[in-house]
Amino acid sequence: MKASVLHDGEGRILAISKAADLKASGSKFTQAGMVAGEGQSLVEVELSAEDSQRPLRELHESYRVDPATKNLVRL
């Protein structure tokens, strides 16, 4: 499963959003997503099958983003 991860300059995860099928959800929006603010960066990652099943708040405590490679790195 794809997820968007918002992180700061040191790779701390600020927010996560799992990809959503807007049409199937009944939303009238055709596109939605996070927008990085000042000092923030946004990366798209592929979550493992195991991580896809975990509560998102646990991912905050388990990972950081490597700002250079844009990959999740276990804490």
Partner: protein, 366 residues
């Protein structure tokens, strides 16, 4: 009914900006809120930001901001999700529609831009029509530009009536009456009177300017004249002209226009195109809003209504685009317009009779 969607999380003390895009639709208000899916484990207290804005130490959302896309096709809404609690919170979005409007009318077959726009009609006389053009972005065209109120008369009388404010490539402003009569499958010029009314530096119509074209009717609904006004961003008049048709001469004639040459109008289409001569202009910038007001109601149609005598259109064209409109009926309607870099090939509507504005021949006034 609200729709819940999405699986998101946000760390304590953090903010995440979001965008939400959907097709442009008038009189629609989206309602967006966050739905917590996990506890904050934080006691709710509130405080004021340094700027005096109140907040709770829980999950919340900011005001909503919005943007119309450059091609007028989409509305994008923005908000910021904020977690003022002590813990990471998972959340979804709740979405609902508040709509005071109707679904927009489908675009005409040729598209919404250049010489192809909706028709406003009621198949009976349109009275006291005023078109106001609010300029929100400087307008500049490679070959000038014009705003054409292209009017259609009912069967059995004169075919086409054009009332125009144009700016040539040198920045000269014109007010125009360019009317045609239709017989035996051909159109013939009836009135062609296009005097200059002023000029603007840099051949640019600045943002903040307002243009109006107001049509006047007699007791039979016939169009008897038009008033043209150009006001600057302070509301001061830059150019003004009133043209009374019965004070003009017929085209290439010393005979005056008479009441027999007047006609009502039953349909109107608004075009933002080249200034004249059947040419195409490339708009490097320009945007604004048309406002249509009449004392009679009008309905929006994406095809020429059957009650008009002439299957006609203007030859001038541009890379302009127009926003969608609800069907109505209404006495007052608005429509956005803009230049579009994305329109690589200009939208062109082809009618049986295409007429062009020829300002070199200014006609005469008796």
């Amino acid at each position: 009914m609200a729709t819940q969607w999405g699986s998101n999380s946000i760390a304590p003390g953090q903010s995440a900006g979001w965008f939400f895009s959907r097709a442009n639709r008038t009189k629609f208000l989206p309602v967006l809120q966050v739905m917590p899916l996990s506890p904050s484990f934080t006691n709710g207290e509130w405080a004021l930001t340094g700027g005096g804005y109140p907040y709770f130490n829980q999950l919340g959302v900011s005001s909503t901001w919005s943007e119309l896309s450059d091609d007028l096709q989409n509305l994008v809404y923005y908000l910021v999700v904020q977690n003022n609690s002590d813990n990471t919170i998972e959340y979804a979005f709740l979405e609902a529609d508040l709509s005071a409007g109707e679904n927009p009318v489908a675009a005409p077959k040729s598209g919404l831009g250049s010489n192809s726009n909706y028709f406003l009609c009621n198949c009976s006389n349109i009275l006291d029509l005023t078109v106001t053009i609010d300029v929100t972005e400087d307008i500049k065209g490679s070959d000038g530009f014009s705003f054409q109120v292209n009017c259609y008369s009912p069967s059995g009388v004169d075919g086409a009536q054009q009332y125009v404010i144009a700016m040539d490539p040198q920045g000269t402003l014109y007010a125009g009456v360019d009317n045609w009569t239709y017989s035996a499958g051909h159109v013939h010029q009836l009135i062609n009177y296009i005097p200059s009314i002023g000029s603007l530096s840099n051949a640019t119509l600045p943002a903040g300017y307002t243009l109006t074209i107001s049509l006047q009717n007699d007791n039979h609904g016939n169009i008897i004249g038009a008033s043209y006004n150009v006001n600057d961003d302070n509301g001061h008049s830059v150019a003004s002209k009133t043209i009374k048709l019965l004070q003009l001469d017929l085209y290439h004639s010393s005979n005056p226009v008479t009441s027999a040459d007047l006609s009502p109008i039953v349909a109107v289409t608004m075009d933002f195109v080249d200034w004249a001569n059947g040419n195409a202009t490339t708009l490097s910038s320009g945007a604004g809003v048309f406002a249509f007001n009449a004392s009679t109601s009008m309905t929006v149609s994406n095809a020429e209504p059957p009650c008009v005598e002439l299957d006609g259109g203007t030859l001038e064209s541009s890379n302009s685009i127009y926003g969608q409109m609800p069907a109505g009926p209404s006495h007052s309607m608005t429509q956005s317009f803009a230049s579009s870099a994305q329109v690589s090939a200009q939208i062109l509507r082809h009618a049986r009779v295409m007429h062009k504005l020829t300002p070199g021949d200014t006609g005469t006034v008796t």
